[in-house]
């Protein structure tokens, strides 16, 4: 059996190189068919991951710990109490980069100009400075620091609507944990601009301790504990484990996808359209390869007929054709992946806002702008997956010529 297989491989290998031009066309088309999706998908995934990371760091982390019912009715009386144990366990965990405590209050901000519904995020300034990009988005004034009390930062859109500047005051009205109406005076310390108009016109941040005071929460109570993990790709697995090991009865660990479902949906839709475009491109490119393989088989019908005449089995001929496409795939798919990665390395770090004179809104998903600096998502499993899919596609396309060979009439071909 072995020498026979070797001989078939030898015939396949030499047959491939008998027509160099056609072979190069086939290989080239598979290389493109592998390299292009590798490039585009890793590039796209890089942008999405960057965006997800930014938003997760700005909001409630990749994984969020909160009260079980908080999702259904995000009200202030659904806080998670005494999270110190969980917090310190998480901070000792190798997979965790950082955690951030947040108290979220819904309410209304008033000035002489008018009243606007807002969300007050009580945060730990030192944590935010280390994980979030918001401290870098201050356009006037300064970001918060520990013990800032009544000082708050607001978005530029909200500042416009309230007609206030840094140093000016506004009144924040909300309900405390007993449902009583409470009012507090805040002074604007800084104004930020993220680019997301929803965020910039709705969010107010202040020190978490003052936010707790406003609504009467104790100093251990937290609406959400945001967890920034080192590897966001496998946060799903981690949170499952934490749910079993750490969560108290009324606490639940959730993914950023559940915390920000609309952003998740936007990303999936955008990703989906990218994948569809890729699939169409790949089909187009594979068609070139398919037609060259088909041609090469049809051209050799007579040769196959004489092989059959002298006792070659159909399965042996099919094996030969299989080896031919296998060799194409084995040569071309790794080259394609390699070139795709090479191209990604080449564009890595490039600022695409220089390339396209686009308005940042064009680069936004769910209101959040993507980082214009190209940071491809280099994931060996993803790259391998693309390569293997194209490889299998090549092998599947190789079945058609096999089918044609099995229908060859020896006598007709030999007479011709």
């Amino acid at each position: 059996m072995m020498p026979k297989a070797l001989m078939i491989i030898r015939i396949a290998w030499r047959s491939i190189w008998r027509s160099k031009r056609r072979t190069l066309i086939s290989i080239f088309s598979i290389v493109i068919g592998t390299g292009l999706p590798t490039f585009t998908v890793c590039l796209g995934w890089g942008f999405y991951n960057g965006l997800i990371d930014d938003v997760a760091r700005l909001m409630a982390g990749h994984v969020t710990y909160e009260h079980v019912e908080y999702r259904n009715s995000p009200s202030i009386d659904l806080w998670v109490d005494d999270i110190q144990a969980i917090n310190s366990a998480l901070n000792n965990n190798d997979e965790v980069l950082s955690t951030k405590q947040m108290v979220l209050l819904q309410g209304v901000a008033h000035t002489a100009k008018g009243a606007v519904g807002v969300s007050l995020m009580g945060i730990e300034p030192s944590k935010e400075i280390s994980v979030s990009f918001l401290p870098d988005s201050i356009v006037s004034g300064e970001y918060l620091s520990q013990g800032d009390g009544r000082r708050a930062i607001i978005g530029n859109k909200l500042a416009e609507r309230l007609n206030i500047k840094v140093g000016k005051k506004f009144v924040f009205t909300s309900n405390d944990i007993n449902g009583e109406l409470v009012e507090d005076l805040f002074r604007v310390k800084g104004i930020f601009k993220t680019g997301s108009s929803a965020f910039d016109s709705y969010v107010v941040q202040s020190d978490i301790n003052f936010a707790r005071e406003v609504v009467g929460l104790n100093s251990n109570a937290t609406s959400q504990l945001g967890i920034i993990v080192k590897n966001p790709d496998n946060h799903d697995k981690i949170l499952e484990r934490w749910q079993n090991e750490l969560a108290s009865n009324d606490g639940v660990f959730l993914s950023w996808r559940q915390i920000m479902p609309d952003i998740a949906t936007y990303i999936y839709m955008d990703r989906g359209s990218l994948v569809i475009i890729m699939i169409m491109l790949v089909i187009l490119v594979q068609f070139t390869m398919f037609s060259t393989i088909l041609m090469s088989v049809l051209e050799r019908k007579r040769e196959f007929a004489s092989l059959l005449a002298i006792g070659t089995k159909h399965v042996e001929l099919n094996l030969q054709i299989f080896f031919e496409t296998l060799i194409f795939g084995l040569i071309a798919c790794p080259i394609g992946s390699f070139l795709g990665v090479g191209a990604l390395k080449w564009v890595e770090g490039y600022d695409i806002s220089k390339l396209i004179e686009a308005n940042p809104e064009d680069m936004s998903i769910g209101g959040f702008t993507m980082d214009p600096i190209i940071t491809p998502f280099f994931s060996a499993p993803l790259i391998l997956q693309i390569s293997i899919i194209i490889f299998l596609l090549v092998l599947i396309l190789g079945i058609v010529p096999m089918f044609l060979v099995s229908r060859i009439s020896i006598v007709d071909e030999l007479r011709a």
Partner: protein, 243 residues
């Protein structure tokens, strides 16, 4: 099984072959009876279109008769599956074609070795067999050449080597001298005669060329799909062609 019977390599009974259907049927063979025994060296002659190739294809299991019995080596091959037919060809029949049909990507040596590979013969035996065969047919020194680097006559020698390498019961050759000059044709025929004498290989071949007749032990004339005078001896043919 009687000794006579085991000597019978080919036995055809009332073989008919129709091509096409409806009212455009061509009757290529119209009831051929034929018996070939071991060691025969039979030349089949006949005008173009008389059915020579059709008959060879049926005997070799490349095509199936419309009716009649095709018994090769005691086995009715009409009832064999395509797979079994392919195995029958591999183990019992050697083919030589008019236009060589060598595997272009294999060398002369590898072409001759091909069938032995399919049969699973071990490397040592293969080498021994192929080398001595290439020497016998006058191709030593050319074994590493590819078909395109060989003349027509040399290619046909390789094809003959490939056909006889596995010592088949029967070698079928369809107009194998048609594409070479008369001198080369002569040497190819001498080669086959010597293979017939030395190895007792049974040959059946078709030709248009009357010069071939003098090599034949037996001549068959095919005319309009039937054997017109099976009992013609080579002497009689020679006389008739020289008249």
């Amino acid at each position: 099984m009687s000794t006579v019977k085991s000597n019978e390599i080919v036995l055809l009974q009332n073989i008919k072959k129709d091509y096409g259907q409806g009212n455009v049927v061509t009757e290529a063979l119209r009831g051929v009876d034929l018996k070939l025994v071991k060691g025969d060296f039979t030349v089949m002659m006949g005008p173009s279109g008389s059915g020579k190739s059709t008959l060879l294809n049926i005997i070799g299991g490349l095509d199936r008769a419309t009716s009649g019995k095709t018994i090769i080596n005691g086995q009715d091959i009409g009832i064999l599956s395509n797979k079994a037919l392919s195995l029958m060809r591999l183990n019992n029949i050697g083919f030589v074609f008019q236009n060589y049909n060598l595997i272009p990507v294999l060398t002369a040596y590898e072409n001759a070795e091909y069938v032995l590979m399919l049969q699973g013969i071990n490397p040592l035996q293969r080498r021994e067999k192929v080398m001595s065969l290439l020497q016998e047919i006058g191709l030593d020194g050319l074994e590493n050449r590819f078909p395109r680097e060989l003349s027509g006559g040399q290619q046909q020698r390789v094809a003959i080597a490939r056909a006889v390498a596995s010592d088949p019961q029967l070698v079928l050759a369809d107009e194998i001298t048609a594409n070479v000059d008369s001198e080369t044709a002569q040497s190819l025929l001498e080669l086959m005669v010597s293979l017939n004498q030395n190895n007792k290989t049974t040959f059946l071949f078709s030709t248009h060329d009357p010069a071939v007749i003098k090599f034949a032990k037996r001549v068959i004339i095919l005319k309009d799909g039937n054997i017109s005078n099976e009992k013609l001896s080579s002497v009689e043919i020679e006389e008739s062609t020289h008249k």
